[in-house]
Symmetry: C2
Subunit: 136 residues, 2 copies
DNA sequence: ATAATCTTTGCAATTGAGTTGCACTATAAA
DNA sequence: TTTATAGTGCAACTCAATTGCAAAGATTAT
């Protein structure tokens, strides 16, 4: 697991108690986390503080957000060299059975040929179906 | 433009006044519509009735929903032979400037090689950037 | 045709994720 | 130390989405 202080330093975000707790939590997860997920895990910590922490992290490319259609935005840690734009584009998988959302970092992202004059800046790619645990 | 009654018949959804109005409206659009968009266009019609109409349409594969990260679910008419599962998978484009969301029906959907034992059922693919009108 | 049943609609109220205002605290600069 | 800046906790608010319920409409049985 990557070092929290190191990441904050690289991404130029000041180290505070809450930021350390939230980032450490996110790094431990095997699935993308909603604000509520984090709130439930870090019961001592205030929701709006977590919210603002996530906002700061997204703005500074420490994490990225995923709209998986569950009604709650999910968050996952970015690759260390990610600028959340054309680098580190990747698919996500939402399991219709266990409701977990994963980053599919290992699946190569295919370049999409857009219509004339369209310019890609970011993407929110969510494949839905059954994950390896649920597809039995 | 396709015929409203025809579509409803094919998809086995009873024809009612509101359903006709909503579907006719959706067929006319060049961008995906939010509940609020529709509400604003069809001022006579009650929001919850439109909401339930959209729900019925999604359940019966007349339309599909798109999570584009704007905070409002968008809806667009399906291809007539769509089952909203592995057929008619397509990308969407969200313009960061004019905030319109389009179906990119003409862009071929590339088959994604998922990890072992993952099974795709549907997808919510949203590419974000500048549309041809705004990229100047 | 009439009554019974099921479906759809309109309105008001509720839910819940997300967001903000504000006072207080902690940290950094002067 | 004083002053300015940034971060936090709490409560309140926003707003898209959803629901309960009764009235209206459509369908089926008698
Ligand atoms: Mn991801
Ligand atoms: Mn579409
Ligand atoms: Zn699963
Ligand atoms: Zn545009």
């Amino acid at each position: 697991m990557q070092n929290v202080d190191e990441i904050l330093k690289i991404k130029n975000v000041k180290n505070t108690a809450i930021r350390t707790i939230v980032l450490r939590h996110l790094l431990k997860q095997d699935k993308a986390q909603s604000l509520k997920d984090i709130e439930n895990s870090l019961i001592e910590t205030d929701r709006s503080s977590i919210f603002r922490t996530l906002k700061t992290f997204v703005e500074n490319k420490i994490i990225h957000s995923i709209e998986d259609g569950s009604g709650m935005t999910k968050y996952a840690v970015c690759a260390i060299d990610c600028n959340c734009e054309l680098k580190d584009l990747h698919y996500h998988f939402y399991c219709n059975n266990c409701n977990k959302t994963f980053c599919l970092h290992e699946v190569p992202f295919k370049k999409i040929k857009l219509p004339e004059n369209f310019k890609i800046q970011e993407a929110n790619m969510v494949i839905k179906g059954l994950c390896n645990n649920c597809n039995k």
